[in-house]
Amino acid sequence: MTAPTINHFAIWAIYKAEMARFARSSIQSILSPVVSTSLYFIVFGTAIGSRMASIEGVAYGAFIVPGLMMLMLLVESLSNASFGMLMHKFSGTIYELMSAPVSHVEMVASFVGAAVTKSMILAALVLATSAFLVPLEIRHPVWMIGFLLLTSVTFCLFGFILGVWAKSWEQLWIIPGLIVTPLTFLGGAFYSIDMLPPAWQTIAMFNPVVYLISGFRWSFYGTADVAIEVSLAAVFAILVVCFAIVAWIFKTGYRLKN
């Protein structure tokens, strides 16, 4: 028998298996990020936010929605995509993936595709929840979805790399916990970069998450710390770097093959 040119059966099989894993752990993987993000809205938006001045004409509770969604999206994209890969390495089932007639592109497409689907579902749930708690406005919905999708793909690819690289569950949390979360908090999730002293504004420009949050917030309220084109360019730059690393991983078999 001849192998199919594109092994779409395998893409679908991996995608389905990843989505099934997501569904099995729905409390941890759906409820927990939605609840914890909603708590931010309640505490910072509704409770404290009512005593705070609006920023650039946007009520504080509404102002923090894009940043918090971005925080959830980055952390969840990283951990979902990395978890699947590490699970295969950890349980030994990687043997089957490595011996299957599946190309590298197909493998990445299926794993990252499933992780992106999860991230988009979570983003939709968080957005719907926030609409109940704070006055929301979305000026550029197409841009908003586009930005969401682009960021998900980028960070799911990043997560895939993380899953290949990590040798333990502890290592899996280093990037989302110790790097991405602090960068998001310092990247303008809760404030506008304009509000920082000039020296800190300069430093903040080296934080890639600033560009993600700024662009995303622009799609909601039309205000941004940096121009939307710059934000887009930053996301594309991270995406290209991730693609290059994934290509290198498969070319060398790094941490996948002996």
Binding site: T2, A13, A20, S91, Y95, M98, S99, A100, K257
Partner: protein, 312 residues
Amino acid sequence: MSSIISISGLTKTYADGLVALSGIDLEIRRGEIFALLGPNGAGKTTLINIVCGIVNPSSGTVVAGGYNVITQSRQARFNIGLVPQELATDWYESVWGSVSFSRGLFGRPANPALVEDVLKRFHLWEKRDAKIMTLSGGMKRRVMIAKALAHEPTILFLDEPTASVDVELRRELWAEVRGLRESGVTIILTTHYIEEAEEMADRIGVINKGTMVVVDDKIALMKKLGGKHLTLHLQQSLAAIPSALADWPLSLGAGGHQLIYSFDSDGADTGIDRLLHRLTELKIAYRDLHTSQRSLEDIFVDLISERKGRGP
């Protein structure tokens, strides 16, 4: 007979410097059961993993089913099934889900009737909805085999298939393997039990320290390797073997208290009958006797010294 797998000049040195394979040349014939026999650490699993695409070789080429496993990996892998040594499956997945997943992964459209047939053949049908983590070790092994067969491979690798498997499953497995051979599947199994190789294989390759020591038809090889010993525990020790027994290849052991006879158990006439008769005639009394298979270790020692004797 045509080869379905051709391995030439295959070497593998791991990153830590361990030399697993040092120059393997091997032809597997289409439709045979080939046993790769060797002690732990001989390189059996490395060899299998290279053919299946899990390990990259350091040098050499492997052609499986007419396709180079590196440059035409998709087509080569499409027809290969692997049952690994370890029980590695998604523990939270159901039996049905896991076997169906494997079929899809290897590029086949869903075929519930075929998956049902495979599950029934391995007595997994009743457990099709059970999570794999709830199954016993033997049942998990059956799942591993079912997964490897779900895409109807024409080449099947079984890496230590009977490790930690009970007698019942072992018999079932052998019956199934023979059935697969009948349907035209080529089967390569690894084992460190000589009895297993003897029972199952058409041909046997002995591997030791990353080198093929010998590859031969089972019958020819077992003649060469499969000698047995008859040990007689004598009532009274002998100082030398009596000349009346010179027709038999005998030796003395335990300070003359044991008389050891080496014979070929596959031969039509083992000569035991006549030997015992002659001993009675000679009034050489014995209080116990037993026969033993030569151990694999003995055989390796023989084979390796034989090779050295032949020179490089």
